[in-house]
Amino acid sequence: MLACTIKGVQNGFPLKIQAEEVVEREADFDPDFLRHIFPKLEWAAFLEGARADESFLKAFHHALLEVHLEEGALLCPETGRAFKVSKGIPNMLLNEDEV
């Protein structure tokens, strides 16, 4: 991603966006490409640029507030311990031997 490369600059990223004109260009919806780029994105920088965009906010709204995990589990990345989710309620209670 673009950064300020002036000699001696340490925090030259992300560049702030000063918008005078913004255009939209249609692109093919390609889920495979999106999955490919997903882990590589500098998310903090991307969000800084995207936060003002209405359709981004709508997708964000949908993912944040409208998609609910109803049944399943949340897994601890270290131990693999499953915290079951039932009727949308995560059970975070520990067994006695886990405290």
Partner: protein, 228 residues
């Protein structure tokens, strides 16, 4: 009145059947999370929230509120919890906490532990805690809030008379009127600018001490330790 609900994230600690959670949603919170240790109570809470025509933005979590208080043990002194410390619940944050905690009659200190958890959740961004406590603990609670938990304000908004029916086995009388205070505690905003500041400014420690001092100044409460 204080703008603590409209557009704010709210947590309801010890939410029980979720009445306060639903209330917070009706007051305009777009995201409410109710936490309780009782799975049966949460089942009823789900049913209660389903009664409303429009779906309420309320979620429930089965968890032990006291584990939130425990995990904040290292940050109750008011100093650095924004970085490494703070335990497994340190990422849990909200703007406003509402709660009707246990009064600490059976398990001494449960009310203060809930308050500790609550102030921990709104720390960082700064926020308010609404909580019901027995009036007999008023002076003590104010002292704890201002001196120990880093609140900048602790105000009794209303006094209620609460008819507590015998709900637990250890309740000896059929029902008992108890006087209850509705409190509003304010936790000041932490200076979040510090971590992103370039190194070398080196006044983080001084800043924290200053904010601790502020809390002390406000604690000019009357010292009437009333018994039960």
């Amino acid at each position: 009145m204080y703008n603590d609900f409209e557009g704010k994230t709210v947590m309801d600690l010890g939410c029980g059947t979720g009445m306060l959670s639903a209330g917070a949603a009706l007051l305009g919170s777009p995201a409410v999370v109710g936490v309780d240790i009782d799975a049966d109570a949460l089942d009823v809470a789900l049913e209660n929230c389903d009664q409303f025509e429009d779906p309420l933005p309320v979620d429930f979590v089965l968890a032990d509120v006291l584990s939130i208080a425990d995990s904040s043990a290292c940050s109750t002194s008011g100093s650095n919890s924004s970085g490494s410390g703070g335990g497994p619940w340190r990422r849990l944050r909200c703007d406003t906490v509402i709660m009707n905690p246990p009064f600490g009659t059976r398990r001494k200190g449960a009310d203060v532990d809930f308050l500790r958890a609550a102030t921990r959740l709104v720390r960082g961004g700064g926020g308010a805690v609404y909580s019901l406590h027995k009036s007999s603990t008023r002076a003590h609670l104010q002292k704890v809030a201002l001196r120990e938990l880093g609140c900048s304000e602790a105000e009794v908004l209303a006094e209620l008379r609460y008819d507590l029916p015998a709900t637990y086995k250890f309740h000896k009388q059929q029902s008992r009127d108890i006087e209850v205070d509705l409190w509003r505690f304010v936790v000041p905003q932490r200076d979040e600018a510090q971590p992103s500041k370039p190194p070398g400014q080196g006044r983080a420690a001084g800043g924290d001490e200053a904010s601790d001092g502020e809390c002390e100044e406000n604690s000019d409460e009357d010292d009437e330790e009333s018994g039960e």
